[in-house]
């Protein structure tokens, strides 16, 4: 019997909530899987903050251009209608509110929409923020895809983030292996439960009060 969503199913569920024609920026990790699950009849255009719209899948060895990378420094390709631009234009798209949806992974997300996904704050950690703080402030809808808990079972959906914030009050919706959860003015709200998951399990694995689906 199935219990919860796989990584692929989480990505597909997130893709389901992205409208046709959206300009989308995808974080590294599970968010990258979104490209494989674009619903029939829809088209998303992918933005990579290092200066491209219309990013396509990884190249074959023959197709590879050593200058054509995504923000995660992986080789990618260009789709018809792609365009290149410099970093100030790229972050104008982000900061200026032109990107419709950003899908991020996270370490923690709080019931007030705070997100912490760039640093553990450990004394020997090398702080590396990249474009995360620009994305969470600039993009209209911030979606998060994440396992509901850490590998050791700690909640990733929490009352307040203990790690240093990437942004305050910015997350709209969270796609976990157990549920789709909205961040509302009243805190976490389950929108949908994954197959075989009951609400009590979600509440138990969430580090803050959460409301059942309506």
């Amino acid at each position: 019997m199935s219990h919860g969503w796989t990584r692929e199913q989480m990505a597909a569920r997130a893709a389901h909530d992205i409208p046709d024609g959206a300009y989308v920026n995808l974080g590294i990790g599970i968010p990258e899987l979104v490209t494989q699950f674009v619903p029939e009849g829809r088209e998303f255009i992918y933005h990579t903050e290092n200066g491209m719209l219309g990013m396509g899948p990884p190249p074959t060895e023959d197709e590879r251009d050593l200058d054509l990378m995504n923000a995660g420094k992986k080789y990618v390709t260009e789709l018809p209608g792609a365009v290149y631009f410099h970093h100030a234009d790229s972050f104008s798209m982000i900061r200026g509110g032109h990107i419709d949806v950003c899908v991020l992974g996270t370490m923690q997300v709080a019931e007030n929409g705070d997100i912490a996904n760039w640093s553990t704050g450990a004394p020997d950690a090398i702080p590396a923020v990249g474009g995360a703080m620009d994305l969470v402030q600039g993009v209209e809808k911030i979606y998060v895809i994440t396992q509901h808990t850490t590998k050791t079972g700690e909640p990733k959906l929490v009352g307040r983030c203990s790690y240093p914030l990437t942004g305050a009050g910015v997350v709209s919706r969270i796609f976990t292996d157990l549920a789709v959860v909205d961040v509302t003015p009243d805190g976490f709200q389950v929108v949908e439960l994954a197959p075989g998951v009951d609400f009590d399990e979600v509440q138990q694995k969430t580090g803050a009060p959460i409301r059942p689906p309506a």
Binding site: E49, M52, H87, F91, I126, A128, G130, G138
Partner: protein, 236 residues
């Protein structure tokens, strides 16, 4: 006739003094001016402040410059990568300074320097530790941080095609910070994979106008950091 061509990478970087602030184009290995960086290692200027999105890869290019002890301080958005060992080791040993700037703020601060804008406001990093010590201000009910321009003495840039006036085009995402850095440095030094005659780049297709460029060196068949690393190479 104006001609900004310079005969070699060695001559192009020969007047970079100790203590200079140097912007280096590129995002990871893409668009990195490896030959200019290696020339700067040979030249030997020390106590540099370097501005780049990252801190180099493997032990070539920017990472090699850092590894050679020539860099006092890095200003960047993401000083980690799976292949960067040089910077983390020096940083943990307290032998190099680091200023972390969000990527979009870094780009905009560099552009502002080139555009004569001493300061601007951005929502990026509001409410985070990177806002500490920064002025904040509300506009239309939302909080923003004030950020200052970021200038440099020199910029080291890789482009695809250049003409003798310094008009430039780039290759794909090799463009990244380079056009902004050309604007923000007192002296902009460019390595061009192709150098063509004046008038041979369509005026509509030029990305960086020559007014932002001081020296152009042709470097045909440039090396690429990812290839050097795959081959196990290091520069020292």
């Amino acid at each position: 006739m104006i001609n900004k061509q310079c005969p070699s990478v060695a001559e192009a970087v020969a007047d970079i003094p100790d203590g200079a602030t140097v912007m280096v184009g590129g995002f990871g290995a893409s668009g990195s001016p490896v030959e200019l960086l290696h020339a700067l290692i040979d030249h030997g200027a020390r106590d540099l402040t370097v501005i780049n999105n990252n801190t180099g890869n493997g032990e070539v290019g920017l990472a090699a410059l850092i590894g050679n002890g020539q860099v006092r301080k890095m200003i960047c958005s993401f000083p980690r990568s799976s292949q960067s060992k040089v910077f983390p080791e020096l940083y943990r040993a307290g032998r190099i300074e680091l200023e972390v700037v969000p990527q979009g703020t870094l780009a905009e601060r560099i552009r502002a320097a080139g555009a004569g804008i001493p300061a601007f406001y951005t929502p990026t990093a509001v409410g985070t530790v990177l806002a500490e010590g920064k002025e904040s201000r509300e506009f239309d009910g939302r909080e923003y941080l004030m950020e200052r321009w970021l200038k440099a003495d020199f910029a080291l840039i890789k482009c695809e095609t250049a003409d003798p006036l310094g008009n430039l085009t780039f290759n794909k995402t090799g463009r990244n910070f380079s056009p902004l850095m050309c604007m923000a440095a007192t002296t902009t030094i460019v390595q061009a994979t192709h150098l063509v005659a004046r008038g041979n780049i369509n005026p509509e297709h030029i990305v960086t106008p020559g007014i932002f460029v001081d020296r152009v060196v042709e470097v045909p068949d440039p090396v690429h950091e990812d290839i050097l690393i795959a081959e196990g190479r290091r520069y020292a």
